[in-house]
């Protein structure tokens, strides 16, 4: 146990080296007078900007509005991806029906939908939701389908022997059996959704971290741009960590380390 703890600690310490080195190089360049404030600010001014925005009560508004939008679009995509994925995964006919359409729509980047989305749904949240939804949908959908297809057929045979009804089959065999892949899809989907919200906000918005970024650009304030970029990165990482944890909890039965008899 002690050994394990040390290993995690060591991992964390090692993973801190590169970010700290980058920060050091940044500061070093500043001390050597290599930075011009209008192209590259010094590290402190990014922090100052963050403090300033936070004090004005604006920082959390931007962050929350982006996160909320992402969650909405992501949850819609999750519901659609699960329902559609289960149907396609279980029925050859339904699969045939959707196959070609999905194949053609899949390679279109969600951002390519922005012009149409704005025309159809306006520049408010609806169009952004649509982009986020598309960004999250495909990874989730495709992973649900392949997760279901990779479930060992012998479990379906078992369900037949015990005359397990449809809904029970879905909740006890299909979804848990596909869960590891579904969780991968969900993580990629949420990541995509986050990328999409930033892209959508950069094009038309009055709040959000994407807006903060374009706003910084229009004011020629690279400190604000960098702050927005860091926020995007950090929030994305934290959300993924959350999902990683959820995934670990849900697939406890599959954890090798705990495979000890009581």
């Amino acid at each position: 146990m002690k050994f394990f703890k040390n290993k995690t600690l060591r991992f964390w310490l090692i993973s801190l080296i590169l970010p700290l080195a980058l920060l050091g190089a940044w500061k070093g360049a500043d001390l050597l007078g290599m930075l011009k404030p209008y192209t590259m600010p010094k590290p402190e001014s990014v922090i100052d900007t963050a403090v300033e925005l936070a004090a004005a009560g604006k920082l959390h508004v931007h962050v929350l509005s982006s996160i909320l939008l992402v969650l909405k679009g992501f949850l819609l995509a999750l519901a659609a991806g699960l329902i559609l994925g289960v149907l396609i995964g279980l029925s050859k006919r339904i699969e045939a029906f959707f196959e070609l359409t999905v194949q053609i729509f899949k390679p279109i980047p969600p951002i390519a939908w922005i012009p149409l989305a704005i025309l159809w749904l306006g520049i408010e949240d609806k169009s952004k939701l649509y982009i986020i939804f598309l960004g999250a949908l495909f990874p989730i959908l495709l992973n649900v389908i392949s997760g279901i297809k990779n479930i060992d057929r012998k479990y379906f045979e078992l369900a037949k022997v015990y005359e397990v009804p449809g809904m029970k089959l879905i909740f006890r065999v299909v979804l848990p059996g596909a869960l590891p892949e579904i969780m991968t899809g969900i993580r990629v989907g949420l990541g995509n959704a986050w990328v999409c919200v930033v892209a959508a906000e950069m094009i038309a918005s009055v709040t959000g971290v994407g807006y903060l970024l374009t706003y910084g650009r229009s004011l020629s304030r690279p400190d604000m741009v960098i702050l927005a970029m860091l926020l995007i990165g950090i929030i994305g990482k934290v959300m993924d960590d959350g999902l990683k944890f959820v995934s670990k909890m849900l697939t406890k039965w599959n954890n090798g380390e705990e495979a000890l008899v009581r």
Partner: protein, 255 residues
């Protein structure tokens, strides 16, 4: 006693590379209610195929297979099957695996599940996941799961094949003691001659390519059954001769 299972002129082929591959040829067998029938034969002689047909998992055959006088058309809870692999759902605990198999309208499921887990000696392992169980324990959960559904017939496909000799012997005795309490009709597929004789009231010997029944032997062992008594040895020799011919049995007497 009445015939629980009647198999008449059963033929089964699989589509192969060059035409149909005949797997079962002219199988005729009746199984009486409450009887344990062992089916023994070499690898690939169609034992699993026969069992799957009995279970209703494979209905593409010629001939007649009757269960309780009616043709077998699909799997049902009445026909319990224990696969060679334990086939527990890895994401459900021992207890949940049994619950999964039960119909919705069973009263007092918890007590029922507990009863059968106790029966197979797994009290205390209710909340354990299959990965955390040993092979023998997992196979016992599979036995409990099959029994909890109160099958009228239990089909066992080399259920103890992957177990070590000692676990295997204790599982065999457990199965017999379960049968003593509740004499369910059983068909036990095995490639272990000792197991076939020890557990079966009748031993069906099969030969491969195509799989057919070479002989059926009644086993009349005293109760409690013995693995080393003279009766056991005698029957064993007969079965051996069936496989290896009358000349020189490879069997060494050690009594």
């Amino acid at each position: 006693m009445s015939d629980k299972v009647i198999i008449k002129n059963l033929n089964k082929s699989f589509p192969g590379n060059n035409g149909q591959l005949r797997v079962l040829s002219d199988i005729n067998l009746s199984i009486q209610e409450g009887q344990i029938v062992s089916v023994i034969g070499g690898s690939g002689c169609g034992k699993s195929t026969l069992l799957r047909i009995l279970a209703g998992l494979d209905t593409d055959y010629q001939g007649e297979v009757l269960f309780d006088g009616k043709p077998v058309t699909k799997p049902t809870r009445e026909k319990g099957i224990i696969f060679q692999d334990h086939r527990l759902l890895p994401w459900l605990t021992a207890e949940e695996n049994i619950r999964f198999s039960l119909p919705g309208d069973v009263p007092d499921k918890n007590a029922l599940i507990q009863h059968y887990l106790d029966l197979v000696g797994l009290a205390g392992f209710e909340k354990t996941y299959p990965k955390q169980l040993s092979g023998g324990m997992a196979q016992r959960v599979a036995v409990a799961r099959a029994l909890a559904n109160k099958p009228k017939i239990l089909l066992l496909d080399e259920p103890f094949g992957a177990l070590d000799a000692i676990t295997k012997i204790s599982m065999q005795d457990e199965l017999l003691s379960i049968w003593d309490k509740e004499p369910i009709t059983m068909v036990l597929v095995t490639h272990d001659i000792d197991e076939a004789i020890y557990l079966g009231h009748r031993v069906v010997v099969m030969t491969p390519r195509p799989g057919r029944i070479k002989g059926i032997y009644d086993v009349e062992l005293n109760i409690p059954k013995s693995r080393t008594g003279l009766d056991f040895i005698k029957i064993k020799e007969v079965v051996f001769q069936e496989f290896f011919g009358a000349s020189g049995s490879p069997f060494i007497y050690n009594i």
